[in-house]
């Protein structure tokens, strides 16, 4: 049972990948001018659907299997040239890929999927099928309600032999399942042939046996063909009498060809040749549970800490140490760093897995909004830790919707403004040091500052008489109170605005910069750490305890003696920094720590993300270091004002400050202090 579940989980994991591939190939097909590309794309898409079908059949997901079959046969028509993949055909295929995703998800939840989309797309697919010369009837009909034998067709004894591939069990199939499945067609008489190897030679994972099967069926021959073709990847079927049951071995490139050039174009000659690349590929990549990698990542984190503890100890010993020892420790520092990078690289994933979902959003929105648009992606292969990838989808999707809804103008306006009628949105990713830089830009109208300002004034975010610099106006869109008051559109503004996006990015240790050129377009530049497992932090002391401030939020550190600190009538402190007054909080007070005895020596200027800059008063600054993030929730619970903890070189625990939460703690009563800080 457990095994079965494992296999099912594996199948669904694979399905997710295959669905992604499918989507991508269909996109290529849609965009492809080059016929070679189109042909390759059809083949690749076909393979993806075929694999889903095969797996679905193995696990008995009837609805999924029959739909996949239907989908596959339409693509087969394209492959054979009977059907030309025009744009409208590909659109249907894209809808079919949506439908198949629904079916996969339904199967995952062990539910029936009654989404009307499936029936609709199924009908659309069937139409293609009916257009050309009569091919096999849609498999669905055959499976659900065995059509009464037409008088013209004679009862047919189909004799075939079933020769499972050695790896049949490894692929999650079972000869019994195949036999049972064939049993649905009629009485099956199976005779086992083949010799059992000696017990000592018996490999439990391979199947040494084959069967001769006689099916007493009323079904048309095509039904038997269809049934059998489902398993053609896992077993060979030979017609014992008459002609071969399989029309011709379908060109069956490796399941998981990473490199498109590996995928053979011409039909391979024999089974052996056909499967060889699969085996090679299996060796090239491994499927490993994420948990195992996570454990490794944690362990390496420990080693890094232990290593720095060792180095610190050595420093304390001072000049007494011999050179060999310090050299060894130094070498170890390099090696541990390299080890850490290596382990993190295992968990790294290309941002493609996020990017590849976006073109469809643009396409859907184009239709909905009546704004033709093109999305250009670049740098999809930039690798980021999977912890970051998971969190990236939501903010990116939201920003893309915004760009489509608010950024791009309707085609008429664009033409009037001398632009191409089709809007252009570009999304790129690249590495920039220890961070990844993601740029999303559109060539739309940009942000209308007058409108933004008017809206902000109407919402009371900005006083009537206040004058703001252009970039300050742009920043208003990140303010929490801004987007909620906007007209709710079906596409973007549902009360979730850019403030949510910015907060999300901030919680990931990221930053978001807006570059607005009214009339020409908008550009968002996001920088994110490559991983959430380690964090660049600034170590500070407050009230005799050490804390970590995420370096991504730190703007500047100042000596408090060099700053001008003022006290407002109600006792709140403010600090004058580069032409404006910032609220000044004491970290110790924010965290409700007991009254201090020492005096605050430093003021750290921090970016709260949504509430602009503020200053934090701390006792001392110890320096910067990379820290390994540890959760407090694992053995305790979430603590307000703290995003996690880390272990310092001496083995003691330091808390990592949650900057956005800190401002909330500190600003709770300070909203009216100075409206400009809110928005700056």
């Amino acid at each position: 049972m457990d095994d079965e579940e494992d296999y099912t989980a594996l199948f669904f994991a694979e399905c997710d990948e295959l669905l992604g591939d499918l989507q991508e190939h269909l996109e290529t097909l849609l965009a492809g001018q080059n016929t070679d590309d189109a042909e390759e794309a059809v083949n690749a898409a076909f393979r993806a659907v075929h694999s889903i079908k095969g797996g679905g059949a193995a696990f008995g997901f009837e609805a999924l299997t029959s739909f996949a079959h239907q989908f596959e046969s339409v693509m087969d028509l394209c492959r054979s040239g009977t059907l030309v993949p025009t744009e409208s055909v590909v659109q249907v295929m894209l809808r079919a890929s949506d439908a198949i995703e629904l079916l996969v998800n339904a199967a995952r939840e062990s539910q029936d999927c009654d989404d009307p989309l499936i029936a609709r797309v199924s009908a659309e697919l069937a139409e293609f099928h009916d257009q050309p010369a009569p091919a096999a009837p849609p498999v669905e009909e055959v499976q659900t309600e065995p059509a009464p034998a037409t008088t013209s067709e004679l009862t047919e004894h189909s004799k075939i032999s079933l020769i499972p591939h050695p790896d049949i069990f490894a692929s999650g199939h079972d000869p019994l399942k195949i036999l049972r499945d064939l049993g649905a067609l009629g009485a099956v008489k199976a005779t086992c042939v083949g010799t059992l190897p000696k017990l000592s030679d018996l490999d439990l994972m391979s199947c040494p046996l084959s069967w001769d099967i006689e099916i007493d069926t009323q079904e048309p021959r095509s039904a038997v063909l269809d049934r059998v073709s489902l398993y053609s990847e896992f077993a060979d079927f030979e017609r014992v009498s008459k002609e071969a049951i399989l029309p011709e071995p379908v060109p069956e490139p490796p399941l998981r060809a990473e490199d498109p050039s590996v995928a053979p174009q011409s039909p391979p000659v024999s089974t052996q040749q056909r499967r060889a690349p699969t085996e090679q590929n299996a060796r090239k990549s491994l499927r490993v549970e994420v948990q195992r990698i996570d454990r490794l990542v944690n362990l390496v984190g420990e080693i890094v800490i232990t290593q720095s503890a060792l180095a610190q100890r050595l420093e304390h010993l001072g000049s007494q140490t011999d050179d060999a020892l310090s050299h060894a420790i130094e070498a170890m520092a390099h090696q541990t760093r390299e080890l850490q990078e290596g382990v993190m690289a295992i968990r790294a994933q290309p941002v493609k897995s996020v990017f590849s979902r976006l073109p469809r959003i643009v396409r859907d929105l184009s239709d909905k909004l009546g704004k033709p648009a093109r999305l250009e992606l670049s740098g999809e292969h930039t690798e980021v830790d999977s912890t970051v990838i998971e969190e990236l989808t939501e903010p990116l999707t939201h920003m893309l919707r915004n760009a489509m809804d608010h950024g791009l103008e309707p085609p008429d306006d664009r033409i009037a403004a001398g632009k191409d009628a089709t809007g252009l949105i570009t999304l790129s990713a690249e590495h920039r040091g220890e961070r990844v830089l993601i740029k999303l830009s559109d060539d739309g109208r940009g942000i209308d500052r007058d409108r933004v300002l008017a809206k902000a004034q109407a919402n009371g975010l900005v006083g009537e008489s206040e004058t703001l610099a252009p970039h300050e106006v742009d920043q208003l869109i990140f303010h929490p109170g801004f987007s909620t008051a906007q007209t709710v559109s079906d596409v973007s503004g549902r009360g979730v605005g850019m403030d949510v996006v910015k907060r999300k990015l901030q919680s990931l240790g990221g930053r978001c910069v807006l570059n607005n050129q009214p009339g020409k377009g908008t550009e968002f530049i996001i920088t994110l750490p490559l991983t959430l497992a380690v964090l660049e932090g600034m170590v500070i002391v407050s009230n005799a305890a050490r804390f970590i401030l995420p370096l991504s939020a730190v703007i500047e550190a100042l000596r408090i003696d060099d700053c001008s600190v003022e006290i407002l009538p109600e006792g709140r402190k403010i600090l004058f920094y580069r032409g404006e007054y910032l609220p000044l909080f004491d970290l110790s007070d924010c965290l409700g720590m007991p009254a201090r005895d020492g005096s605050a020596g430093m003021a750290i200027i921090l970016d709260s993300g949504t509430h602009g800059l503020f200053a934090l008063q701390v006792d001392d600054l110890l320096g910067q270091r990379q820290v390994v993030l540890k959760s407090l929730e694992a053995n305790y619970r979430q603590v307000e004002g703290v995003s996690g903890a880390t272990i310092l070189g001496d083995g003691s625990v330091a808390l990592i400050i949650d900057i956005p939460a800190l401002t909330a703690l500190g600003t709770a009563a300070q909203i009216t202090l100075h409206p400009k800080q809110e928005v700056a």
């Binding site: 984190g301 407090l632 053995n635 305790y636 004002g641 003691s652």
Partner: protein, 155 residues
């Protein structure tokens, strides 16, 4: 984990680790005890219950440490190395209990665990699951999952 359940699965004997907190003696089911370590400085957490001393690094894992003296209404345990932290697991989480000293591992018959008198309804009584009359006086067996407010039983 109640005493009864532990007893049933363990062929009619119950083992507990006994320890002192102030002047009183307590015990916890030995099944819950992971290890016993010497006192070490903890890092304070903001805005937590008075008995929560802070967090500690236990070989790379961050665990909270609670002062049992404070939990039972006494003055805080002085922070020095004469005290001991008992590492226990409660519903999947590992936590530390700061106690004065661990005394012994005691094996008794489950019948020797006497119920807490029903009339006693203090906050402390809720955290006890039974009383044992030992050679040096009474030992109160703690019901670990009722000892502290956790997300699970806070509601």
């Amino acid at each position: 984990m109640t005493v009864k359940a532990a007893a049933a699965s363990d062929d009619a004997h119950f083992q507990f680790v006994s320890f002192r907190v102030g002047l009183r003696a307590f015990g916890v089911d030995i099944v819950s005890v992971r290890e016993i370590t010497q006192w070490a400085p903890t890092t304070a957490l903001p805005n937590q219950a008075a008995y929560t001393l802070g967090v500690l690094n236990l070989r790379g894992t961050i665990i909270p440490v609670h002062d049992l003296r404070v939990r039972f209404g006494e003055n805080p345990t002085p922070p020095d190395e004469t005290h001991v932290i008992l590492i226990v697991s409660i519903s999947g989480q590992t936590i530390g209990l700061l106690v004065d000293a661990v005394s012994d591992i005691v094996t008794i018959h489950p019948d020797a665990i006497l119920p807490v008198p029903a009339q006693v309804t203090t906050a402390q009584a809720d955290a006890l699951c039974g009383l044992v009359q030992g050679d040096d006086g009474m030992v109160a067996i703690l019901r670990l999952d009722h000892l502290f407010e956790t997300p699970a039983n806070a509601a």
